[in-house]
Amino acid sequence: MLSVRGMAVGYRRGEPVLDGVDLDVQPGRTVGLAGPSGCGKSTLARVLALLLAPWQGSVELDGQQVSGSRYAAPVPARTAVGLVFQQPRLAVDPRLPLHQIIAEPLHATGRSRQAPATVAELAERVGLTPELLGRLPHEVSDGQLQRACLARALVLGPRYLLCDEMTAMVDASTTAALVSVVREEADQRGLGVLAISHDEELLGIWADHVVSL
């Protein structure tokens, strides 16, 4: 279980964005996080993904407290949690073709040998053709890029996936496709999913239960 207890965090001293927040993400289940924009949902996701150090409270991953954030957090902890961002264009390195973007976490953790096979398999699951894999980000649409970002988040086989407004910028068909991939992962591999969205209708269909900030 990925959880956080009594968490307070903010960007400027004295102005907490979140205060006294508890959240659990359980394996195999999808918890939805709703709320208007600006209420701190993305901040919560960043804390859970160990990208932001909370002022109070700490993140607990599968029973163990994780200390440190960003580079200071241990690599196995960081890679156990996958994160998909709202804007795919800003979330990828614009100089790398899609297959390298997806394979990057494998290279970073010393698993380069698995890269070609894993990337090919994941690309097929998220609906990217081999021809698209060789393209640069500015040559593909937002929907296709977000599929690549989802593949990248799943490439290390994380135990938890945080989708931070994953579908806000893409059309209805891509939304349905991305969510179906995540659901499949949750069902087959017991992935624990935190679905952040301001779209209550989507969360109603996607999440097992919904929490509001």
Binding site: R46, V75, G82, D93, L156
Partner: protein, 311 residues
């Protein structure tokens, strides 16, 4: 009820049929008029051509038979430019054209080394400053301000005076005064990239600091830094020429154009204008050509965005 007009034909999309006209318009904020592509090509080819010719001749001088920049001929002292000596001769009878080309070779070599050293130094310091933030960043930026506050030449002279006559001292004096602009540019680029989600994604994917720097930040920064190196070259040439002119630069056996100008200082007063004017013109031509090429490169380095197609 929306009503539309039914197309009567089914042409294949974007067919090269009749009726296509350009949608290009000269709008406020788009400075390039219709002549811009032509002008930029002229600049590119012109600069490139000049540079290739001059650099080639400078490099080939030692190997071309019969051309010796040290050949002294006291019978032909201070001859004005003429058919035998296109640039004239200097006070020892040496052909000025050959001597200038040899000097150009030295000037360019020294300047190139200086530009590279400056750029590497500036890139490293700028990247460290941008990535580390906090006190490191503040200290380094104050150092940049301090270096910029002192006139380059003065600082350069001080450094060179400590190690008279050494080529290394000349290189150091130029490198240590020109790295600051590179550092600022690189720091700015790193700062703008550091908080982008794709860095967060890399960290989440298990990358450590060094990998992020090596794989994501530096490659984004290198093109800008390389451009800086090219644009520093004319400055380095100027700086080295000034030092040599004052007699504080390269030793006489490695005569650069600055040395030639310094030697010819007195000759100008007796009317031998070509000894100073023509080698300087050569230097100016090279500097302009390099700046022109750098400018063309910078114009082409507009980042690719999907909005190019406005889809």
């Amino acid at each position: 009820m929306a009503d539309i007009t039914v197309t009567q034909t089914v042409p294949s999309p974007a067919a090269p049929g009749p009726g296509w006209r350009s949608a290009a318009r000269r709008r406020a904020g788009t400075p390039r008029g219709r002549g811009a592509p032509v002008r930029s090509r002229v600049r590119l080819l012109g600069s490139g051509g000049v540079l290739v010719v001059l650099v080639a001749s400078a490099l080939l001088v030692p190997w071309l038979a019969g051309l010796d920049d040290r050949a002294v001929d006291y019978a032909a002292v201070r001859r004005p430019p003429g058919p035998a000596h296109p640039f004239g001769t200097d006070e020892a009878g040496r052909d000025l054209l050959v001597r200038s080309l040899a000097g150009l070779r030295i000037s360019l070599l020294v300047a190139a080394v200086c530009a590279v050293v400056s750029t590497v130094l500036g890139t490293v310091l700028g990247a460290v400053s941008g990535l580390a933030g906090g006190w490191t960043d503040r200290l380094l930026m104050r150092l940049v301000d301090a270096v910029n506050a002192v006139p380059h030449l003065l600082l350069g002279i001080v450094i060179v005076a400590l190690y008279r006559g050494s080529v290394l001292a000349v290189i150091a004096s130029i490198a240590l005064t020109h790295w600051t602009s590179v550092a600022r540019i690189v720091r700015g680029e790193v700062l703008s990239l550091r908080d982008r989600p794709f860095i967060d994604a890399a960290i989440s994917g298990g990358a450590g600091r060094r990998r992020v720097l090596r794989r994501h930040l530096l490659p984004a920064v290198v093109p800008q830094a390389a451009l800086c190196a090219v644009l520093i070259l004319p400055h380095a040439v100027w700086h080295e020429t000034a030092l040599s002119f004052l007699g504080l630069g390269l030793p006489p056996h490695l005569a650069s154009i600055g040395n030639i100008l310094g030697d010819g200082r007195d000759a100008v007063l007796v009317g031998s204008w070509w000894i100073v004017a023509l080698p300087s013109a050569l230097l100016v031509a090279v500097a302009l050509a390099v700046a022109g090429l750098g400018g063309s490169w910078r114009d082409r380095m507009v980042p690719r965005r999907r909005s190019e197609l406005a889809l």
